[in-house]
Symmetry: D2
Subunit: 93 residues, 4 copies
């Protein structure tokens, strides 16, 4: 079980929609559509991916990190560090 398991269907639905957006981008490039329009769609797909990340991060804090903190000690420290590193990757991507 993961923090996101309860919302798995919602996440799968969002990821399938993003997959569709990426295929849509392929069609736009295939059809030589205007660069700016392609860029606008890429920004939309990036935002959708970002929203999935933020949702997963929230659930991770709520479940995995919370459980580790309840356990305390090194387990908690390691889990918070791991979460902070993931937040840094998210901010820098």
């Amino acid at each position: 079980m993961r923090g996101y398991t309860e919302d798995k269907d919602a996440y799968l639905k969002r990821l399938r929609r993003i997959e569709g957006q990426i295929r849509g981008l392929q069609r736009m490039v295939e059809n030589d559509e205007y660069c700016i329009d392609v860029l606008t769609q890429i920004a939309a797909a990036t935002k959708a991916l970002q929203a999935v990340s933020l949702g997963l991060m929230d659930e991770h804090l709520r479940h995995c990190v919370a459980e580790a903190i309840a356990e305390g000690g090194e387990t908690a420290d390691a889990k918070v560090k791991e979460a902070s590193d993931a937040i840094a990757r998210l901010v820098r991507s």
Copy 2:
């Protein structure tokens, strides 16, 4: 013809790879893989999308914006403004 048309195959290949990454994310969620590992893969897909955007923007400046600037006047102004707005969306996505 678009600025990117000459490199169309390369862009299509990259977008198909990103599509594969998104399907890979669906499998990870399907299999309840660890949140942090899913987040790491999302950051990788986001970076790949970002790189496609930066490539397209470079080609757009080189071709579409350059042609409009050569034309001068309002055509040039409008094209630069359009590019600047796209850069802002890219920075904020």
Copy 3:
């Protein structure tokens, strides 16, 4: 006492350095230095601010969020939501 209080001097030192970077930017603009060089320095100041944010977020998780989680119930829920919203602002800034 805050999560960052123990490292207050380090954070103040980093913020003073960023203040110096911003004054340096003013001098560059005052002296009509080349746009790209100004942009490069702005990117450096932005990265420095980002690093301060990530440090504060880590300490916040380690102390404030951990304490609230230990308390459990609504206190924990509210504190995690608040942290997630702050992570979203950080990602979108």
Copy 4:
């Protein structure tokens, strides 16, 4: 003369305001203000810096890049590459 020279006073005013925001952050940390409030102010300062960057980039395209494109040849190529690299740094900061 630079692309931004005509708007120099406006840029200097904005940079001085950002400098004030950074000093404000120092006071907040000095006074042990709540982490989330400090993070919120950092996000605001980051956005302000980002807006200055986008303004400078627009002016750079309008003047420096446009002049180089009018000149054509290697000068234009080098100037567009330089602008694209600066856009990449902006996106990744």
